[in-house]
Symmetry: C2
Subunit: 262 residues, 2 copies
Amino acid sequence: MMCCFNLYEMTETLFPKKTYPFEVSPQAVDFNFQITLSSLTALLMTAAGNNAEENGFGMRQLNGDNNTWVLLRLAIEMNSFPKQYEQIYIETWIEDIGRVSTTRNFHIRDKNQKTIGYAASIWAMIDYNSRKPQDLLQFDNLQQFATDEKVPIDKPVKLKVMKGRLTDDFNAKYSHIDFNRHVNTMRYVEWISNCFTPDHYNKKKMKRFDINFMSEILFGDPIQIYLAEDEDKDTYFFEMCSRDKTSCRAKLIFADQEFAEE
Amino acid sequence: MMCCFNLYEMTETLFPKKTYPFEVSPQAVDFNFQITLSSLTALLMTAAGNNAEENGFGMRQLNGDNNTWVLLRLAIEMNSFPKQYEQIYIETWIEDIGRVSTTRNFHIRDKNQKTIGYAASIWAMIDYNSRKPQDLLQFDNLQQFATDEKVPIDKPVKLKVMKGRLTDDFNAKYSHIDFNRHVNTMRYVEWISNCFTPDHYNKKKMKRFDINFMSEILFGDPIQIYLAEDEDKDTYFFEMCSRDKTSCRAKLIFADQEFAEE
């Protein structure tokens, strides 16, 4: 039996495009009272999860069939980062659905409904046990959620091989592993964010973040983090490896703090 | 000027005891779809923060006067841990207020309003810049929030010196530091949780957790984690040190998984 999650249920009330409000909690901010990139990523994931749930193809519905969504690529561009206790609004929708992946977009607004950023993400569905990708075109009802609506930022970039200097080396621990039994997206983002000092964050503001997930890291696996930089361009490249395989690549572009005030 | 946060505002509507609902998000659960101890701690801190805010003595009100709350001790006892997407209800109130510290209690209920745990916490107020403790008795209006209502678990224990074997050794990084500019409570709890394997969590369930905070760890500080165990009693002791000072001690008592079903 290839497909059996209850997509028919979703036809009753469709929310192909919906906005989810969040308050930036004290646990989500850094030393500057500003939301961290990993907490922002978590809110994007939560909005994505909620929207999928409401439309009948969320984790709960999929888990019944031993399927789960995994993130392949994510790009985030921000003009400014909300502060502690600020309200933010994340609107999300599916742009397209192909055989092996689907694109989900995000429009991020501040408390005054002013745009503060956009994000785009590419997902695959895998079998929870075999870890094999599922053919998304087998789910006929999914296609109705493809809105074809883009966001005004570049698509998530496919990052090339880069092996800079080793900056950290450790094993995947209990708190790094999520319900998918692999290292959670937020953890990769934290490890990337940890390559910079508070002083760096005082001077620079993140403009664009790209991350690619290539292979899973499981409990106990060794992890090495490599970093290369193009300081003139305020651009940093990351490669996270485990057992000689690249698990994840990322790229961060910063700008001077003035950028946001322009 | 010693005291100036607007305690008079809170006399209009008082919420000395209030229940906050939370949904256990996918980002808050472990490989077993069960809320992690650190995520549960974060929800307790959020409930505490919300209750303090609503009563006029939260972080935002205090920060205006350069004061902030810091957690000294916390004890949590749980019968069962909620799962992903489950609704939980955290009721919180102040038990007493002394010169140097105040006790805040928590009653944790599941989606059916059944008690699943209790927690008790001891807090001090410090000056954000000098890091010196403030005399809580100077805030006359605070006393009206002391309900004298206890929880049916032992008070947070003062843990004794213990130096077991070194289990981890690293430096405090950007993502470990919170709005108080020191290592966040959740991070200590994560590091403690990381001393155990998924296999351990499959067999054992946490019964009681005690943590004492003694000195702050700041960005870049070295951190060593020591662990000692009394396996017969399913009891584990932790000591987190930085520059030859003990920053934090903790104690975890587990029981066999059957415990919850008794």
